[in-house]
């Protein structure tokens, strides 16, 4: 392996043969801030300011109406110590598996197959697999509610093959509701991961595959030696996007289970909504929101580091 190329040349090298004080070409100039300003203003007004204001509100006990009282970090300790709220973060972790890990594994499998043999109608399959990304989440939720319902196709199929004993109302079952919702996410995210990987595979030089084959590598070996290393960047992007989708999942839970049965499918993002609008604990909701943001930042940084080897 070559050592990574340094982006900037040593300073001594750059200033050689120039009068003192003159700016070398490519060095940042202050006027650049002016160019950034319009976008920065919009970003600040619609993202930074709400983020800061949310962080500020999270330090109060506030019902959204009457005067709030100072809480310090009380809302954060409550979010961590309350077993119900702590449970929501655990549920989010389970969803990360279904939203990110599982789709990426399945997408890899599909891509590995497609990169070895080009099946007929590839464009068609690609489109079909990407389709869930295009359909509105509300439609997805309503459709899956029916699929999982007592008289829906999942139970119908089970009964058909003589496994009627396993049939149940999946979204109302304490054990199965969370995995059931998670699988909807898997279904939706496979397409995204696959399209990213397919694009990446096309960049990998054919010679590498040929070399691997000449060296006698089988399909599995070829995948781990050539395809996987070649897709590190795509994997990083796919994981980042899907993990964020998992952590901020609100719409699907709201539409399919409302957090039930019991607390079985409660997730942090749902609690942000619930505590703000239903129970009037705006400060606590903001604290949970900030915690989600922190977790998302941490995970994004972690994925970049682990998968891409960035430091």
């Amino acid at each position: 392996m070559k050592p990574p190329a340094t982006r900037t040349r040593p300073a001594a090298d750059r200033t050689q043969g120039r009068p003192a004080g003159a700016r070398p070409p490519g060095e940042p100039r202050r006027v650049a801030y002016l160019y950034v300003l319009p976008a920065l203003l919009v970003y600040a007004a619609f993202l930074l300011w709400p983020l800061l204001h949310g962080a500020y509100l999270s330090l109060f006990h506030w019902d959204g109406l009457s005067v709030g009282t100072w809480a310090g970090l009380g809302n954060y300790t409550q979010a961590i110590s309350d077993p119900h709220l702590r449970g929501t973060f655990w549920h989010a972790a389970v969803l990360v598996f279904f939203y990110a890990v599982l789709p990426c594994c399945i997408a890899f499998l599909l891509v590995a197959v497609m990169s070895r043999s080009r099946p007929r109608g590839l464009t068609f399959f690609r489109t079909v697999l990407f389709l869930p990304q295009v359909v509105a989440m509300v439609a997805v939720a309503v459709a899956w509610q029916w699929i999982y319902s007592e008289h829906g196709p999942v139970n119908g199929t089970l009964r058909l093959v003589g496994l009627g004993g396993l049939a149940r109302g999946w979204l109302g079952d304490f054990t199965w509701a969370l995995p059931s919702v998670g699988l909807i996410g898997t279904w939706a995210e496979i397409g995204l991961a696959m399209v990213l990987f397919l694009a990446g595979v096309q960049k990998i030089p054919r010679e590498l595959y040929e070399a691997a084959r000449v060296d006698g590598a089988g399909a599995v070996r070829e995948f781990f030696a050539v395809t996987l290393p070649g897709l590190r960047r795509e994997l990083s992007v796919a994981l980042t996007l899907t993990i964020i989708a998992a952590l901020r999942n609100f719409d699907l839970i709201y539409l399919t289970t409302g957090g039930g049965p019991g607390d079985a499918t409660r997730v942090p993002a749902y609690e942000v909504y619930n505590r703000t609008f239903n129970t009037g604990e705006v400060g606590l909701a903001c604290a949970i929101g900030i915690m989600i943001a922190v977790v998302v930042f941490a995970v994004t940084a972690g994925v970049g580091r682990l998968v891409e080897g960035r430091s």
Binding site: F60, V67, W170, P261, G262
Partner: protein
């Protein structure tokens, strides 16, 4: 680059920490009883902004007709109506009332979540100053005004000043499918024992005794409430919900939860009970899934459309035939309330008076609603409508209504609803479940 950012953040925090959220806007004043006016015609041209959620079925027509009638009576008053669905209205109300230009009259749901929170924030005006002029309290039975009352500072519901008046009523009762009963050779149950016997008979003959769709958690509260009405007296239940005494772990409460667990275990509810959507209930019930359906007037229009006179309604039957009716859940519908910062409180009070007057009760009945007070001339047209009206009259006259159990705490809908789902699924025993509910309840009372 990093340093100015830190300074900016620090400055922002310093500026914003100076004022707690929600501290903007002055406190409005309540008029003294002598200072109120009742002569609307003298008020000059007034635009009254009214927010309601009467959008389903005949409710929309009801509001349009009544608003037009009020305008015809007082041509100087123009009503600007803003109607939204129930959940949209309740969720935007907080923002609207804390904003600079609030509506004059709003429909604010009872309980700690909305009405008490609005009172605590000083956003609603008590109706006490208008009592002498309009007699809002005298108009309704005590049980109904209690639910629209909040004590000073929003501390407790069930007592204190009156803040709202409702045009409609709600009582949770039992719908039954007449075809199914006839097929099973049964009569509408006259006693609770007969009802339970009917459930067993229906189950034995392969029918679903009670249709229940409990995905959203709250529906099971209606079943539980009806059972509580049998095991626990109305006064004790009211004390419990209003936080005046008692516990959810009391023997009679656990007994009702145990009965719910028994029903579920015996298969009295359909398979997948916790997975089916509540709002879809009328369709399967009309198709014959379920002999009985426990619910309030909100199902009546849909059921009547699908089943005609094959659907009827009774209050939960008493312990003895012809005996005193058992307590059940219910109360006034969504109440109309006056906002504290309304510029025309006198006109708004006259509007509330009109909307709960005799003419309004006729219009409510004609448009298919369950009028809160007996309508002077109109009569419901369908059999189930007449059942509901008769049941409502009994419920008001005998004062048997107990508030919805989820009014107990701000989080009780989730807590109790979730507990009931667990009890129905057999994951927790009745006692364990009620201990969970009591924990939430005790924590709320301690904080209050």
């Amino acid at each position: 680059m990093r340093k100015p950012f830190v300074v900016l953040t620090a400055a922002l925090v310093a500026v914003s920490a100076a004022c707690a959220p929600g501290s903007g806007g002055g406190k409005p004043k309540t008029p003294a009883p002598g200072a109120v006016g009742t002569d609307v015609a003298k008020a000059g041209p007034v635009t009254l902004t009214v927010w309601d959620q009467e959008v389903l079925g005949g409710q929309n027509e009801q509001m349009q007709r009544l608003n037009a009638a009020f305008h015809a009576k007082y041509p100087n008053v123009t009503i600007k109506r803003v109607s939204r669905s129930f959940s949209d209205l309740e969720k935007t109300l907080r923002l609207a009332l804390s904003g600079g230009n609030p509506p004059d009259v709003v429909e604010a749901n009872q309980g700690y979540g909305i009405m008490a929170a609005l009172v605590k924030a000083g956003a609603l005006m008590p109706l006490d100053p208008y009592e002498q002029a309009y007699g809002f309290r005298k108009r309704f039975p005590a049980g109904l005004t209690q639910l629209n009352s909040v004590s000073a500072g929003g501390k407790a519901i069930g007592s204190g000043s009156l803040y709202g008046v409702a045009m409609t009523g709600e009582a949770v009762g039992i719908y039954y499918n007449t075809d199914k009963l006839a097929k099973l050779g049964l009569k509408p149950p006259a006693t609770w024992a007969e009802f339970e016997q009917d459930l067993a008979t229906a189950k034995g003959r392969g029918e679903t005794p009670i249709y229940l769709a409990n995905l959203e958690k709250f529906p099971g509260i209606h079943e539980f409430g009806v059972l509580l009405g049998q095991t626990t007296g109305k006064d004790k239940l009211r004390d419990l919900v209003f936080g005046r005494g008692g516990a959810w772990t009391d023997p009679s409460v656990v007994q009702a939860a145990q009965k719910l667990a028994d029903w579920a275990k015996k298969g009295y509810f359909p398979a997948g009970v916790n997975a089916a959507k509540y709002n879809d209930s009328p369709a399967p019930f009309a198709k014959g899934d379920g002999v009985f359906l426990i619910g309030g007037p909100w199902f009546a229009a849909d059921l009547q459309k699908k089943m005609g006179d094959k659907v009827r309604y009774i209050l939960p039957p008493p312990a003895q035939a012809g005996g005193a009716p058992a307590a059940t859940l219910g109360g006034p519908g969504l109440p109309l309330a006056i906002t504290a910062r309304s510029k025309h409180p006198d006109v708004a009070a006259a509007y509330l008076n009109f909307m709960t007057g005799p003419q309004a009760m006729d219009v409510v009945t004609q448009t298919g609603g369950l009028a809160a007070l007996p309508p002077p001339s109109a009569q419901p047209t369908s059999a189930v409508g007449r059942d509901l009206a008769a049941a409502w009259k009994t419920a008001s006259d005998k004062d048997i209504l107990v508030p919805y159990l989820d009014y107990s705490t701000t989080t009780f809908l989730d807590t109790l609803g979730g507990v009931l789902q667990e009890i129905i699924a057999g994951r927790r025993t009745a006692r364990q479940g009620m201990q969970d509910a009591q924990r939430d309840y005790a924590a709320f009372l301690a904080k209050r």
